[in-house]
Symmetry: D2
Subunit: 294 residues, 4 copies
C-alpha cells in the first residue's frame, strides 16, 4: 500500500444534551468526505476528538468507519494514549476490526525520555502486524519527538513505516528526507503549510479541510504534482484563510460549526470544549464562501 | 479549615508484572508520611500517577487513603481530567468518600480558552460542596491559567478557595497576593522554589519531599515562620540538590526509586514511564544521604 | 528596478593581527561573487559583520563595493543601527555614495514598541530617496517585527518597498502575501528555507551561499521558476547540508573559513567571534565537496 | 571592598532637541540618589542608556560620576560592548578614571559560544586590575550566560569576583550558591524579585528604584537582614507595583518620566526610544504616590 495525496479526517458526531455518539451522522459525513477526492480516511484523530471518547465509543467509531468506507480507500485509525497498555489494546482492536494503518501518538503527563518513547512504539509494534504511522503533534500531546528519534524507530522497528508531523516546522521534513535518504514517507499535518510541505517532498497532507473546502485540497495536490506552481500558489492562497482560521479556532469546534451550517448535523465538541460563537461561525462562513467561489 | 505548612504527596504503589494497585503498600507509605510533620495529605496528585489510573483504581486509592489518614490531617484528593463530565464524576465521588478538599486541574488536548476553563471549574463547583484548590501545572497538563483568571474564579465561584501553582514563576505568587489583597491562599508546587515561595507569603508547600527527606521540609517551614532566615537558607540549600533531582527526573520515577531503596516496596511507575536506572538510583541515594546527615 | 532571484552577501575581509580592513581582498571576493549568476550584491549585511565595523570602516566598505560592482547589478547596503540618528547618517551616506537600495534593521537594547519601530523607519525614509528594504532578523537584532507592522509601513511610508525576513517562519511570507494582496515583494533570508520560500512566492533569496556553492543557488532559483519541482528538490537537498552548517556555525565564521580554504584570503571574524576550528573547517569542506560534485 | 545592599543606577540626562549630555543634571541626580541610603552607585548601566552613547560621551559620564560621588560609596561603571577591543578600551579608561568596579556584559549580534564569552572576559580581565562584576541580562544583550559558565570564570579568572543576574530566574541564584559553595557574591538585577533574591542569599539589589522610591529599597534590605520577614513582605508588596511598571515600560523611559515629574530635568531617552505618554506618566505617578504614602 502506498499512501499519497489527501488523507482526510472526519469529525466524531454527537447528538443530544448528553452528547452520545451519532453513528448515523458519522455515516453521512464519511460518505460526503469520500466524494472529495480523498486518498485515505483517518477516523479518531485529533479532529475526531479521539482523546475525549471512552474505550467503547472508540470501538464503535472505528467499526462504523471501516464499514462505511468499505475498502474504497485505506482507513487509518488514530491511537493517542497515555499508557502503553491502553495503546496496545487499541492497536489489537484496530487490526481485529480491519483497519489498514494505525496512526500512533504518545500522550504525556510526565515527560517521556527518548528511550521511553522508543519502547512505547516498540511494544505496540510487537503486538500488531498493521503498518504504523508515527504521529508527532506536541501542541496537543505534550510530546515532541525529534526527527532523529523518529528516523531511528523507522529504521529499527519493523512496522513503523511513515510519519505525520504537525509541528509546522518545515525543516523537520528536510530532516526526515536527509536522515533516511528519501525512504521515509512523511506527511504534513499542519494545514497552513500544505503548499510548502508538498514542495519539500511530503507524500501527503493529513487534513480536515475537505470537510469544508471540497476538492480544493485535492486540486492543490494535483497542481503541485504536475509542476504547475503558479496554479498551486493560487489554489493555496485561496484556501489559506480557512486553513488558518480552523487551526487557530481548534479543529473540532470549527469543523463541526462549519458542517452544521452546511446541513450536516454533527453536534458540538465535548465539554470543556465549546461550540463556535455566532461571530466565529459568521466569519468562518464568509471565509469558506470566499475560498470556494471563483 | 485553614491549610498551612507542608502538604505531602504520596505515590501510588503497584505490585507484580501487571502493576496492579498495592493498597497495603499505600497504607504503609501513608502512615510513614504522617510521621514527617505533614499538615495535610494529597493522594492522587501528579506524583500519585493519577492520570495513569483507571476510574475504579482512582476510587480505590481515594477510599483507602481517606481511611488510613482517618482525620489525623486533612485529605486533599487530586482530580485532573480532560472532560468536564469525568471531573464532575470524581468530584462527587470524593465528597461521598469523605475527602476534605479537591485539587482540580483541567488537562488539555485541544487548547482551552479562559472561558472554557472558567466553565469547567464552575460546573464542577456546582456539583460539590467541597472546597476546591485550583491546580496550575502547565508542564504536565498543557493548560496554563493566568493569575488573572484564577483570581477571577476565586472571587466569583463559591467553593474555589485556594490555588496551587507549579510553574516555578515566583511572580505569579505576587500576582495572587496583589489581585486578591492577600486573601487568596496560594501554595507552591515547585520544589526548588520552596524557600522563596514561603518568603513571598505562600501558605504552604505541596511536596513529595517528606517521602525521602523526612522532617526537613517541615523544619524549613518552621524556620521561615520564626523569622530565622539564616537557618531557613541552610535548611533549604541542604535539601535543594534532592529537590532538583526529583523534579528533573520525574516524581513517580525518582520517589518510587527512593522509597524502594528505603525498604518501602512501592513498585515502578506505569509504562511508558520507566523506573530509575541504577546510575540514577545511586545518585539519588548519595544526594539523600548528603541532605539528611549533619 | 525589480529585484528578483539571488541577492548575494559578501563578507568583509580583514588582514593582520589588528584585523584592519582588507579592501583589496574585498575587491577580489566581490568579483568572484559576481561570476555566480547573482542578481544583486548586498555588502554590509549580517554576514559582512556590519555591526562590528566603525563608522569610517562602514564607509570604506560601502564605497569600495559600489565601485567594484560598478552597476553590473544593483547594490544593496546594509544599515543596522541602535539609534535613529546613526541610521539616518548611514542612509544619507549610502545615497551619496551611489547605492541602489538600503536594507535597514533596527537593533534593540531596550525593547521597541511598534510605534517606536514605525517612527525609526519613517524618520530614516524622510531623509533619503533610496528604496528601503525592511530587514527582520530577530535572532541577531533582538527586534521582531510582525508582518502586520511591516505591511503597514509598506503601505504608509513612501520608499519602504520590500521586506527581507530571516525568521525561518514560512507563515510570515503567507502573511506578507495576503496582507498586501501580493504587492509587497518579500525576500527570504533563512537559507535552509530556500526551496519553500520560492514556492511560497518569494521574489528572491538573500544568501551568502554563492560564496561557497557557486551557481547552485541560482540553479535552484531557475528550476523553481521553470516549474521543474523535481529538479528543484534535487538541487535543494544537494546544498542543504552546507546551508544548515553555515547557519548553525554563524555566517562570518563559516563563510570566511570556507573562502580562506578556497584561496581567498579574507581573514577571520572580529573578536569575540572566533574562527572555525580545524574540525569545523574539515566538516565544511567535506559538505561543500559533496554538494558541488555530481 | 565588600559590596552589599542597594546598588543604585542613575540615568544619563540629556538636554535640548539634540539630546546632548547634561552633566549638570547628572550631578544633581547623583547627589539626590546618594541621599537614599545607597551602598554603591553604578553609572552607565542599562538604565543609563550606555548602549546609546558615543565613546566620548561614555567617558564624560564616567568622569563626572566619579567626581560627584567622590568616594562616598564605590562607583561601578557599566561596560556593554559587542567587540572585545572596545570593551578593553573602556575597561582601561575606567581604571584610569578611578572607578572601583566594572560591570561587564557582552552584547551579541552573532551568537557567542561559551568559549567566545570566556575569552571575551579573560582578555578584558588581562588588561585591567579592577574587580569585574559579570552582568547577565539576555533580554537586552542577546547573550545568556549559564551559571556554570559564570562560575567557571569566577573560579579561573582572577579579577572576576561577582555576578549580577537580571534574568528573573531565582533558580540561577541557587546555582551560583551551590556551584561556588556560597563564595560567589551574586546580585539581583530583576526588580520584581527583590524580596526573594535577598531571601535566597543575594548580596545586593542592583536597582533604579531609589530614583523614584527614595529609601524604600534600603528599608526592604534592612528588614530582610534583621529577619523581620513580615515587615519585609509589607515593604516589598508596597513598592512592587512601581517595580513592575518600570520594568515593563522600560527603565530609561519610565525613570526619566518619573524624575522629570519630580522636578529633576533629565530629558528623554534617545530615539528610537520614546518618552512616556501622558497616560503612562499619570499611572506611574499614581503608583509612586501609593507606594510612598503610609
Amino acid at each position: 500500500m502506498k499512501l499519497e495525496g489527501i488523507i482526510a479526517y472526519p469529525v466524531t458526531p454527537f447528538k443530544g444534551a448528553e452528547q452520545v455518539l451519532d453513528l448515523e451522522a458519522l455515516h453521512i459525513t464519511l460518505n460526503a468526505l469520500l466524494e472529495q477526492q480523498c486518498d485515505a480516511i483517518a477516523p479518531l484523530g485529533s479532529a475526531g476528538e479521539s482523546a475525549y471518547l471512552s474505550w467503547s465509543e472508540w470501538q464503535e467509531v472505528a467499526k462504523t468507519s471501516i464499514a462505511v468506507v468499505n475498502h474504497r480507500v485505506p482507513v487509518i485509525l488514530g491511537i493517542s494514549e497515555l499508557t502503553t497498555n491502553m495503546a496496545i489494546q487499541k492497536a489489537k482492536k484496530a487490526e481485529e476490526l480491519g483497519a489498514d494503518v494505525i496512526m500512533v501518538m504518545p500522550i504525556s503527563y510526565w515527560k517521556l525520555s527518548d528511550q521511553e518513547i522508543y519502547e512505547y512504539y516498540q511494544q505496540i509494534a510487537a503486538e500488531t502486524s498493521l503498518p504504523i504511522m508515527v504521529y508527532n503533534n506536541p501542541a496537543t500531546s505534550g510530546v515532541d519527538m525529534s526527527p532523529e528519534l523518529i528516523s531511528r524507530m523507522f529504521q529499527e522497528i519493523d512496522n513503523i513505516c511513515m510519519v505525520k508531523d504537525s509541528t509546522g516546522d518545515i525543516q523537520r521534513m528536510h530532516k526526515f528526507y536527509e536522515l533516511n535518504h528519501g525512504e521515509l514517507p512523511f506527511y504534513n499535518g499542519c494545514n497552513p503549510l500544505a503548499l510548502e510541505a508538498f514542495c519539500a517532498g511530503a507524500s501527503g497532507w493529513c487534513t480536515v479541510a475537505p470537510n469544508l473546502l471540497g476538492k480544493l485540497p485535492s486540486q492543490l495536490y494535483q497542481a503541485v504534482m504536475t509542476g504547475d506552481l503558479e496554479q498551486a500558489q493560487a489554489l493555496f492562497y485561496k484556501q489559506l484563510p480557512v486553513l488558518r482560521f480552523i487551526v487557530q479556532g481548534g479543529l473540532p469546534k470549527t469543523i463541526k460549526a462549519g458542517l452544521n451550517s452546511m446541513g450536516f448535523a454533527v453536534g458540538n465538541p465535548r465539554k470543556p470544549l465549546q461550540k463556535a460563537s455566532p461571530a466565529q461561525l459568521e466569519q468562518l462562513q464568509a471565509l469558506i464562501k470566499s475560498a470556494t467561489t471563483a
